[in-house]
């Protein structure tokens, strides 16, 4: 039987357009609070480094560079890549190594530096994660993949853009209360509903940000946890899923099949259901992605997402607070850091240490993470459990 594994510490850089830093400095910023808590380099057995695209920086073999920069040059490290799920894929890989007994204590470090190229170039690089032969030639950017889902969702369920704008308003409401957020400002419904079009039906406020940032967590095997904390967050369930490469090949565009499989597997492993969660971090790379996530993760029935939004069930006061750190929309989306940042946020909420008490969720025993890569080709879901009373 595998050993139990817990998240015992975390760190997070400021997200934003970070012209004052590159990957290495961002990683140092994310590891520093962990070091300050007493988890110095000598206590870490190995590192998994997570960044999605080397095109943004030109740096090859980045895990060597970063391990060296933060003083882990003599400890094993490797890089994991699976688009925007790179962060949780790294956590999944590290969990496996610790659960199996290969290492006791591992650092999972997620980072992306996206703003040293223009938005058009960043959009170009990301579009190359579509099928280079059959999709890329038609200029299908990431917002475009999700706009294809939005158009279909609007058609099948009679949804209007109002629903999507309400999700953006919610994300910015919480992002405005998060000092780590990239764009910490409130937006009005009118602003969010009438912003400039990016990939119609999606506009500027439907899109996540192009962000520089890093996040880190340390995981430890159950017999070592006490050395680091009396507040361990257990990794209770992990589920992963995948979907067809070409978006046209999906039987449905109103759901991500891999996300349904991933969430189901995570609930099964944990022996828990959506009703047992007090909060969720979902992959809102676009507002439509957040809407679909409510349904794929079982918070609501298919087609009922808009009602969930209208009733503000996704707010702290609602049935399932979602992305109360601002999400990818307002906190930002440095691809490789995102899944680690989601994990960090669940840990902070569980500890009652949300940065800004105004967005603290009460008494979190279980938290859910849903992290999607590309348009659903990769999905990881995690269920975390509070290890103290």
């Amino acid at each position: 039987m595998a050993r139990r594994v817990a998240v015992v510490a975390g760190g997070h850089s400021k997200f934003g357009k970070r012209y004052d830093a590159t990957m290495r400095e961002l990683c140092a910023e994310a590891y520093k609070p962990i070091y300050d808590e007493g988890i110095s380099q000598d206590k870490i057995d190995a590192t998994v480094l997570s960044y999605a695209a080397s095109q943004f920086t030109g740096q090859g073999a980045g895990s060597a560079l970063i391990a060296d920069y933060i003083g882990l040059q003599d400890k094993p490290h490797l890089r994991v890549e699976s688009a925007c799920t790179t962060g949780t894929a790294s956590l999944r890989a590290a969990w496996g190594m610790v659960a199996a007994g290969l290492y006791d204590v591992m650092l999972v470090l997620g980072v992306e530096q996206m703003n040293r190229v223009s938005s058009a170039t960043a959009t170009e690089y990301m579009s190359q994660a579509g099928d280079m032969r059959w999709e890329y030639p038609f200029g299908i950017s990431f917002p475009a993949f999700y706009a294809l889902m939005a158009s279909r969702y609007m058609h099948e369920y009679n949804m209007t853009h109002d629903t999507l704008a309400k999700i953006a308003v919610k994300s910015h409401h919480y992002g405005a209360q998060n000092p780590k957020a990239h764009l910490p400002k409130e937006v009005s419904f009118e602003e969010a509903n009438n912003a400039i079009p990016i990939c119609r039906p999606l506009n500027l406020y439907d899109c996540s940000l192009i962000t520089d940032g890093a996040a880190a967590v340390v995981i430890a095997a159950e017999d070592r946890v006490k050395e680091f904390t009396d507040r361990p967050m257990w990794i209770k369930g992990i589920g992963a899923g995948a979907s067809e490469m070409k978006i046209q090949d999906r039987t449905s565009l109103t759901s991500i099949p891999g996300a349904k499989r991933a969430s189901k597997a995570a609930y099964e492993m944990a022996g828990l259901g959506p009703e047992d969660m007090q909060m969720a971090q979902v992959h809102d790379c676009f507002t439509i992605a957040e809407l679909i996530a409510y349904e794929d993760c079982g918070f609501v029935e298919p087609g009922k997402g808009p009602e969930f939004v209208d009733n503000k069930e996704n707010y702290i006061t609602g049935r399932m607070p979602v992305n109360c750190d601002g999400g990818l929309k307002s906190k930002g989306h440095p691809l490789g850091a995102t899944g680690v940042s989601m994990t960090y946020e669940v840990m902070k909420q569980m500890r009652g240490e949300a940065e800004n008490a105004s967005r603290q969720i009460k008494d979190v025993k279980h938290g859910f993470v849903h992290n999607v890569g590309q348009s659903g080709q990769f999905v990881n879901c995690f269920i975390f459990e509070r290890g103290w009373s």
Binding site: S118, S119, A120, T121, T123, E124, M126, S127, M132, R133, W134, E135, Y136, P137, F138, G139, I140, S141, P143, A144, A147, L148, M149, S151, R152, M154, H155, I196, P197, I198, C199, R200, P201, L202, K246, I247, Q248, D249, L253
Partner: protein, 141 residues
């Protein structure tokens, strides 16, 4: 691969993947003659659009066959206002997934829309020579 002298240098779409294979070369030569090819597995008979050289199910070789369907319904669409750098000068453009009566789908631009696209609207398959080397299939309304 090294191109034979009699082979035309052809690429698909507006921003092309330059990695060519003999199979893709044949697909593009047919497209040059305004024929859209799908592929059919020589072992289990499964059909693929767009074509694949290897069957997704049994990994056997597929052969190219002309698609006989030309009329489709719009399954979903996007109007790309902010484009990847390689297509910046072309924006805004409409990308649509069209579905043929057989259920096969194809992703391409709609190039002659006057109003807004609508899910369910009728589409017709068309062709375009973008320049001397680039060509594409497309949707017309």
């Amino acid at each position: 691969m090294v191109l034979m002298t009699e082979e035309k240098e052809l690429y698909l779409g507006y921003a092309s993947d330059k990695a060519m294979t003999p199979f893709m070369q044949k697909f593009l030569e047919a497209l040059d003659g305004e024929k859209l090819m799908m592929s059919k597995c020589t072992s289990c008979g499964t059909e693929f659009l767009p074509p694949r050289q290897h069957c997704q199910k049994c990994l056997s070789e597929c052969e190219l066959q002309e698609l006989t369907e030309t009329e489709a319904k719009l399954h979903s669409y996007v109007i790309v206002d902010f484009a990847p750098e390689s297509l910046s000068s072309k924006a805004p453009y409409v990308v649509a997934i069209g579905e043929f009566p057989s259920g096969k789908r194809l992703t391409a631009h709609i190039t002659n829309l006057m109003g807004m696209p609508e899910v369910g609207m009728s589409l017709k398959l068309g062709y375009e020579h973008i320049d001397a080397k680039k060509l594409t299939y497309k949707w017309l309304v």
